[in-house]
């Protein structure tokens, strides 16, 4: 069952009078419960793809299905609700609210769509998430009192609070040392294996990517490798939509 399906996605930015094409017909699919690494050099379009996957932006053209629902034509507000309910974000620089406790940081997304939750339920849910990432003794600490790894784990707990189907991690280890990185990555693997959460890791670092079972390489706005589940090599059945570049890239 395909959780995410992209078909022939184009994204073009308009810089004054010049059009800058960033994604030039991307097609890919991610099945439920997969752990995927999205790889590419800077400027390859992986951030743009990540923004589209995360419903932060709309494609110029092409179709995007999440869980069987076409998201290409949603309004900004509809996308906001979707992000809240179905997507979790983990950022390179954690993006925690300063001078706010870990618990409140984790509970923050609940304040937008979870009106039905009572104050106590929201708190209990946030505590449960922090326990899951191993921070039960750090709940009342503010970000400045936490180490980088701990901050990133708070961010992961926040991403999980609404039980999303997809977790999008944008260079989640970019600001961490190698030892802590390993811990955080193990946590992603664990979440993926134990809870069945679909994880998409966006990175340029092969050491990070090696934790994923599948790697999708993007280059110059086109997917060169790993567009489909179970296809470690070239495009396979959808090679036509994957584009000719998919054949040139080869296996990493």
């Amino acid at each position: 069952m395909e959780l995410i399906k992209l078909h022939n996605i184009y994204k073009t930015y308009h810089m004054g009078t010049i059009d800058v094409p960033v994604l030039k017909g991307v097609s890919m699919a991610v099945a439920r419960g997969e752990l995927v690494a999205l790889m590419g050099a800077s400027g390859s379009g992986k951030s743009t793809l990540m923004n589209l996957l995360g419903c932060l932006d709309r494609p110029t053209s092409g179709e995007y299905w999440l869980d069987g629902r076409n998201l290409s034509r949603l309004s900004a507000d509809e996308r906001a609700v979707l992000r809240n309910r179905h997507l979790g974000f983990v950022f390179q620089n954690f993006n925690l609210l300063p001078r706010t406790t870990a618990l409140e940081n984790v509970a923050m997304p609940l304040s937008y769509t979870a009106d039905h939750l009572s104050e106590r339920d929201a708190r209990r849910r946030a505590e449960e998430m922090l326990r899951r990432v191993g921070l039960e003794d750090r709940m009342d600490h503010e970000p400045s009192q936490l180490s980088g790894g701990e901050q990133q784990r708070v961010a992961i707990a926040r991403a999980l609070i609404n039980r999303p189907s997809v977790l999008l991690a944008d260079e989640p280890t970019g600001n961490l040392d190698s030892h802590t990185s390993e811990d955080v990555l193990k946590m992603f693997v664990q979440l993926n294996e134990q809870d069945g959460i679909t994880v998409i890791l966006v990175t340029h670092d092969p050491n990070v990517a090696k934790h994923a079972r599948r790697r999708i390489h993007i280059h110059d706005g086109l997917i060169v490798n790993g567009a489909l589940a179970g296809a470690a090599g070239a495009g396979g059945a959808e090679a036509a939509s994957g584009g000719p570049a998919a054949l040139e890239g080869g296996a990493p």
């Binding site: 507000d77 906001a80 997304p109």
Partner: protein
Amino acid sequence: MKAYRTVRTALKALGRNPMRAMLTTLGIVIGVGAVIAMMEIGAGSSAAVQQTISGMGANVLLVMPGTAASGGVMFGAGSSTTLTPEDCDAIVRECPAVRTDAPSVRARTQVVYGSRNWVPSRISGTSPSYLEVQNWKIGEGENFTERDVLNGNKVCLLGQTLVRELFDGQDPVGKEIRVKNVSFRVVGVLARKGANMVGMDQDDILLAPWTAIKYRVTGSTLASTNQSTSSGAAGSVNTLSNLYPGGQPGLYPEQSDVQAADNPMPVRFANIDEIMVSAQSPQEIPDAVAQMTSLLRERHHLRPGEPDDFSIRNMTEMINTLSSTTTLMTNLLLCVAMISLVVGGVGIMNIMLVSVTERTREIGLRMAVGARSRDILRQFLVEAVVLCLVGGALGILLGHGGSYLVRLLLHWPVETSPAAIAAAVVVSGTVGILFGFYPAWKASRLDPIEALRYE
């Protein structure tokens, strides 16, 4: 639930930078504080000014009888006798805008004590409420009573000038003086009032029950203004059998047979020269005039279209001064209030704009995890409103404390004004919404991707 959470989020966001929040709201605190203090001190001063001007007789109305006319010759105001003591009672009973009133019967004659004599500029026969109408105090002794008026008792109150001229340092209370050969006992001395607006000495006065003056001293109306020269001692022989020389012999005016036949109306037993009326407040003077006019027209059986047989005068000049002073004061305060609140509001807008820029990443994050643009708009708007309301509350305390201090230290009159407090709350909330809207709107228009990338 939602509102409560939004407010709590706003409070937390403000609490993350308490110093800045405090400085931001300082503009509103000072603005509202100044407004409240000015309002309270201003209201107090304005009340004091009003009281002073009322004390000068601004809310006193004078009802005079109308003119008599004979063959096209008008004799001027007060020359006919149309006002009765019953009119006077009816006015205070039936006109709600009238606080109190007093009839007045005038005389001008010689007053004698021992070897000294004097003609006071005003001898007024009236009722005890005269002092209330004129806002006058008793300096010594006491006022005469309603019973004195009913009985026509020969008691009187003296003004300071009269006391000086007649008594030369002696205590006048309890002494007997003679008013046109009628002996009056002095029951009290009026407090000093000084000259009135046109420079007349108001202390040169003798007050007595109007019945005593009318029936025992003058026996007539304005027709003879200075009885001491026209009749009395000079023209007639003073015998002991004539108890009240110069007075009207009986309560009932003598009528000739022809008069009685011509006038089937009940005889008017007594008429008075004028009625002095005190309105509830200077603002109610027009109401009082309207009420008295319709009442007196009805009582005097005047048909529509027939001219009034009385006239009502007021201190128009004084009232205008009073109302223009009050309006000026109110407008001045309003201007100050507006300026300080606008300045405070601009301060809030500045800081909120800075805050939006500074918290761009936070806004991006909130949008990424599911905040819609209206959620962001609401959050920042609520922050601004909370700032303004907290500032308003502090300002009310500050202003109230300030005016309390002024009362305590400078002994200025101060009046707490609930209206000003309510207005301050409403205005500070409005300022919050008005000046908070632009920064909040700016925040809500941010693109989440750009915002997340913002350094």
